[in-house]
């Protein structure tokens, strides 16, 4: 089944069918989720109304990590099997991941202002998210730096693999560094378990963001496939 879809042309036909469906699901879920965010969930006893930022901040943070692991998986796949579709997916994932990371950082710092009193804390999680953003930016830059597309794909997949090996080390070292500089790191959730009334909008928003991610990814992959086709046509013409 997967190898059947691994042909970019067949995949493109599939994309054109799926794309509107995912967008519709995403928007519906978003509206339902927004309803639950503002109407159906109580304020936190400790943080008050600002806890509503959690419903978009946490999904963004999850996806910023998930998209990086997708990129790393596709990179391994593209290096081992040299498959074009993995290249296309990892290339089109990088800007989306950067956007989700940026959204996480911005919404987190807006959340931090009323709860911690500052826009930015050199907490371990915040710092590693920032490093993740820098790595995403590096991936985007390297994707666009080379004139030869296939070369750029290979280089960026190598970089992504180095990144996935190094990210745990960076995370760990930053953890160690921030405990050195700060007496105690601030934990965002004061209670380990969240009330179901808060969990429901969180999950709905997560699924909505997931479908958004899928639909943006599909659009980008379709664009990349078309671009390759254009390049092939141009190449044939010059030959």
């Amino acid at each position: 089944m997967i190898f059947n879809l691994a042909n970019p042309l067949r995949f493109q036909r599939l994309i054109e069918k799926i794309e509107p469906i995912t967008l519709n699901i995403a928007i519906t879920l978003l509206l339902v989720g927004l309803f639950f965010c503002f109407f159906g969930s109580p304020p936190d006893y400790l943080q008050g109304e600002t806890v509503r930022i959690m419903y978009i901040h946490v999904p963004c943070a999850w996806f910023s990590l998930m998209i990086y692991s997708i990129i790393a998986l596709c990179s391994i796949f593209s290096i081992v099997f040299k498959h074009t579709l993995a290249d296309l997916i990892s290339r089109s994932c990088a800007p989306i991941g950067a956007c989700f990371t940026l959204a996480t950082l911005l919404s987190g710092s807006i959340w931090g202002k009323p709860t911690w009193g500052t826009w930015w804390v050199w907490d371990a999680r915040l710092t590693s998210e920032l490093v993740l953003l820098v790595i995403y930016l590096g991936l985007i830059i390297i994707n666009n730096a080379y004139e030869d597309k296939s070369k750029a794909d290979r280089y960026s997949s190598i970089l992504a693999i180095i990144g996935i090996i190094n990210l745990p080390i960076i995370k760990w070292s930053v953890d160690w560094w921030s405990t050195l500089h700060q007496p105690a790191s601030i934990s965002k959730f004061s209670s380990p378990s969240i009330d179901p009334s808060m969990l429901l909008p969180l999950f709905i928003m997560t699924f909505s963001f997931f479908f958004f991610f899928i639909s943006i990814l599909l659009v980008r992959v379709r664009g990349e496939i078309i671009q390759r086709k254009i390049e092939v046509i141009r190449f044939n013409r010059t030959v």
């Binding site: 820098v134 590096g138 730096a145 180095i162 930053v174 160690w176 560094w177």
Partner: protein, 226 residues
């Protein structure tokens, strides 16, 4: 037999690299001058000289990272441009041995002279002898991984015609652990317990960086010579 051949290969390649380095000695000279002048400029940017005593590790490390990146760029470029990188591969040297030999040569020819420059920093920054010794040990332990990463970054940019600055952008996040553990090492003699200072972690980081850089270097090298 195979192991013996790899050792011999690396030895031959290192000899070649060092011979090339000795021919254009200006790289070592300019690196050392850059290192000294850049750390001096940092001192001028601080109003109170007593701050320098606190920040000397950060200054030395940041200057070192930038100067290494500047040097490593033309380290591979010349070999790539005159085609000897390709030639070495055709001659049957493995990609790993080329990367290793380049980093060994760079470490021997640039990092070791740099260690002799650090005592000047000791005079300028007015740090104590004990602090100086621990600084030199940190440099000695952490520069191998620094060299490997910078060779990797120059491998990334070797085929770029313009916009060489991206090699700094893409590789700088990977220096984060290095910077953290080198600048936070306590002086050797403050804590008698070896576990408390981070020298061991620096050695550990080297043993993680080595295989990663070799693997990535091999992949990039194959891509370059396609």
């Amino acid at each position: 037999m195979g192991k013996y051949k790899v050792k011999l290969d690396v030895f031959k390649l290192v000899k070649r690299e060092i011979r090339i380095m000795l021919k254009n000695f200006s790289i070592i000279y300019s690196f050392s001058t850059f290192f000294l002048i850049a750390s001096l400029i940092f001192v001028f940017s601080v109003n109170d000289i007593s701050y320098v005593k606190i920040f000397y590790k950060s200054i030395v490390w940041i200057v070192l990272i930038f100067s290494i990146m500047l040097v490593s760029e033309n380290f591979l470029n010349e070999d790539f441009n005159d085609g000897s990188l390709k030639e070495l591969q055709f001659l049957g040297f493995s990609e790993e041995s080329i990367v290793v030999s380049k980093s060994i040569a760079m470490w021997v020819m640039i990092m070791i002279p740099m260690l002799f420059l650090v005592p000047f920093v000791f005079v300028f920054f007015q740090i104590t002898l004990y602090e100086l010794i621990s600084l030199v040990i940190t440099l000695f332990l952490a520069t191998p991984s620094l060299t490997l990463i910078s060779i990797l970054s120059s491998l990334f940019s070797v085929q770029l015609k313009r916009n060489k600055i991206i090699q700094f952008v893409i590789i700088l996040p990977f220096f984060v652990p290095m910077i953290i553990f080198t600048t936070s090492t306590g002086t050797l003699f403050e804590s008698n317990n070896l576990k408390e200072n981070q020298f061991l972690i620096l050695i550990g980081i080297f043993f993680i960086t080595l295989p990663v850089c070799l693997m990535a270097g091999r992949l990039i090298m194959r891509e370059i010579n396609k």
